[in-house]
Amino acid sequence: MTPLDQLLLLSALTVVVPLFTGNRRITGPLATLLYTGQGLLLLRMAGLGYGSETPVSSAVSLQVLGLELHWRFDALSWFFALITIGAGLLSSWFASGEWAQRYRDSGSSLRLFHAALALNVFTMLVLLASGELLSLFIGWELVSWASFLMMSLGSNTALRYAMRYVTYAFAGAMAVLMGLVLVYTRTGSFEFQAFRDAVPSMDADTVWLLFGLFAAGFGVKMALLPFHLWQAKAYAETPGPGAAFLGAISSRMGLFAMIVVLVQIIGVARLVELPVPFTFLSGRDLLAWVAVFTIIFPTFTALRQHDARRLLAWHGIGQGGYMLLGILIADDLGSAGGLMHVFNHATYQAVLFMSVTAVIHRTGTSDLNKLGGLVARMPLSFLAMLIGIIGLAGLPPMNGFVSKWLVYRALILEGSPLLFLGAVIGTLGTILSVYKLIHNTFLGQLRLEHVDIEEAPSSMLWPMMILSTVVFVTGYFPGLVLDWIASVQAAVGLPVLAHHLGGVHIDKGGLDMIWVVSVLLAGFGVGALVFLSGNRSKRVHQLDNYAGGHFLTADTRYQYSDNFYPGLMHLIGPWYRKSFRWLEGGFVSTVDTVSQLMQGLYRHTHPAFYLLAVVVFALSWVMGGD
């Protein structure tokens, strides 16, 4: 039994255990413990993450229909598995204490929740371990349906969007299946290596077809434009810790598969050679532009949300664009940035979802228009969210800055100013909307109904604090993550990024986060000194205030949080997002019309007429040969 087998076995066990322990209090801690075990087993394979070992293969292999199925872990899988298990561990921890009690009391099945979470982790590990295209597809489908299970645990709205997700995901899966069967008929094998060997001899049309099928199929899971409509609401309505988990890692599985097929096998170089007809673009440029629009549109959609979870979920879509963009640059800097963003995004996105869930746990709402001023009541949650949004906005000293910097830098060096511009516009939107998030939740006037609430329970705070620490530490010492990235790059066949603990050193201006953060901290220190040495401020109650010469009573709103950024909204509001809705709606109504036509076909008054018709057609076709 190889370490990989042990890991998968333990992961499978984690699925089974909640089914037996059921709705008891012990389920959460037990699951957390099991995830810790998985983490430890994964760390035993740490050599993969540091690039010193050959892939760990599983002892299990199957021969079905003459097709060989096998599984293995390389550095890429290890990297994604680390994030997966980490997210699973912390989400499960988060879902152990008071949250579990509340969830159970509301009549939902804790057993099902923990089993679904563990199933997600397990299926993702299976996907990550896939050793050829067929097991990749199997893993892919397992992941899709596991996350469908997770989503459908939520409200009716979640069920509706989960339904939408299934439609998109299965259509995407069919595209992938078509692609890999095409590969099989060309190569006679599902092995990665056989595919890779066959790519140079394929003509442009075939590569285009495969590229389109795989990119569309995997893109659905990543919620690339125009297949993004399902994701935000489906994730947002999932039960809190589940949303944290899905937001952190689920849609990155699409990226993983895309890296495997488009980067590792077909190769970005081949995509660059593919011309888009009638334009000067290449296949890669096309996808890169899709990535950029995936950054821009969902990010500005996020800006319009007034539900904290939806806002975050829309951002999750946008951030995926950075990762894809970085990886498509395919040089050492860009791909490192893209890969690192996967890790970074998982950390801060989980923190943000958790902190929002903590707020919901205490206040019962995630409507940004009904919150405010909670910083005085939930300071630690505030701190977690603050760290999270700094990471999300890509500002120093958090880790989001490093990965985005790498991507920007690579774009500039590669000479794609327009793509760069698009990415920056996206970041602008991010900054605006995360400010809206933290302002409306924690800053401003405390609502009367929230006066008595307390800080989130410790079972929630611990995961948040741990993740916040990770966000900060990997921002301070990005070299910790870049070590793993480098071995992933080696495993995938990309140029390896030369780096050090503080960042990278390149000729045209490197990045040393130790220095940057230290200066920043020093600046904060100076500021704090100035602040402390100034006049002592007087502490007043938040409601002890007046305006226009009148004292304000507690029930007067003197600070409003709805209709944020009215000018900007007025500017961008009318002409985005609707178009995709329209696209989807148009497609659905086309199917509907055709479907009605077909039903009409089966409603013929006189079915014998068809018999005559088909006999005449078929006879004239077969007799025509004579």
Binding site: F609, L612, V616, M623, D626
Partner: protein, 228 residues
């Protein structure tokens, strides 16, 4: 519109049928199996009427299935029509001529039917043709006196036992390692009444089965309430 399209397709069909007909090589058809049967049937089966040999011997399985179809049609018909309602208004009794005719013809038809059945292996005719005559014989009284219900018990008993006996005769050979429906008994003298082994027995079964099924079908249709 639809009739117009249908007519168009029919036109096409006509052309196609003509094409098939023109392409058919009428001379090429040689009944290889038929000739072989004509050559061998006298010894293998022993019936003077080779069609009977085929119907009950070579293709006895077909015949069994055909009986089953009749049985099925009668069962399904019964299922569809259901039990005749008690308040159904019976047809008025037929006139004197028909009644007298029915009385007169009943025994005559019975005899003719049985004769045709029993000579099925010798002359044209047999279980099917005789069975129809039996069916009409059974049905005639009903037509003449609609009030009197036909004895469904007797009919269903006959149809069950007749069908079963066909199968049982077929099965009898099996304990000796022979195949299903292997002809039994002595072949006898070709052309005599007691020849062709078990074939006459089978034809009696067929005749009774066909007769009872068809009579049942007729009775069902006749007993259904008129809908005017």
């Amino acid at each position: 519109m639809q009739r117009f399209t249908s007519a168009l397709f029919l036109l096409g069909l006509g052309v196609l049928i003509a094409a098939i007909f023109r392409n058919m090589d009428l001379a090429a058809s040689t009944p290889i199996v038929g000739d072989a049967i004509n050559a061998a049937a006298a010894q293998q089966v022993g019936a003077a009427n080779f069609v009977t040999s085929v119907v009950l011997g070579y293709r006895g399985f077909d015949t069994l299935m055909e009986l089953t179809i009749l049985f099925t049609a009668a069962t399904a018909g019964g299922l569809v029509l259901g039990k005749p309602r008690g308040d159904a208004r019976p047809d008025p009794e037929a006139g004197l001529v028909l009644r007298a005719g029915a009385d007169l013809f009943f025994p005559l038809l019975l005899v003719v039917g049985l004769y045709i059945i029993l000579h099925g292996h010798l002359t044209p005719g047999g279980g099917f043709q005789g069975g129809v005559i039996l069916a009409v014989a059974f049905f005639l009284p009903l037509l003449a006196r609609p009030g009197t219900p036909m004895s469904h018990r007797a009919v269903s008993l006959i149809e069950g036992l007749a069908g079963a006996s066909f199968i049982v005769i077929g099965l009898l050979a099996m304990p000796e390692g022979q195949a299903f429906l292997t002809p039994l008994l002595d072949k006898g003298q070709l052309g005599s009444l007691l020849s062709a082994g078990s074939l006459p027995l089978l034809y009696i079964a067929v005749g009774l089965k066909v007769g009872s099924e068809l009579a049942g079908l007729l009775a069902q249709l006749a007993a259904t309430e008129a809908s005017d």
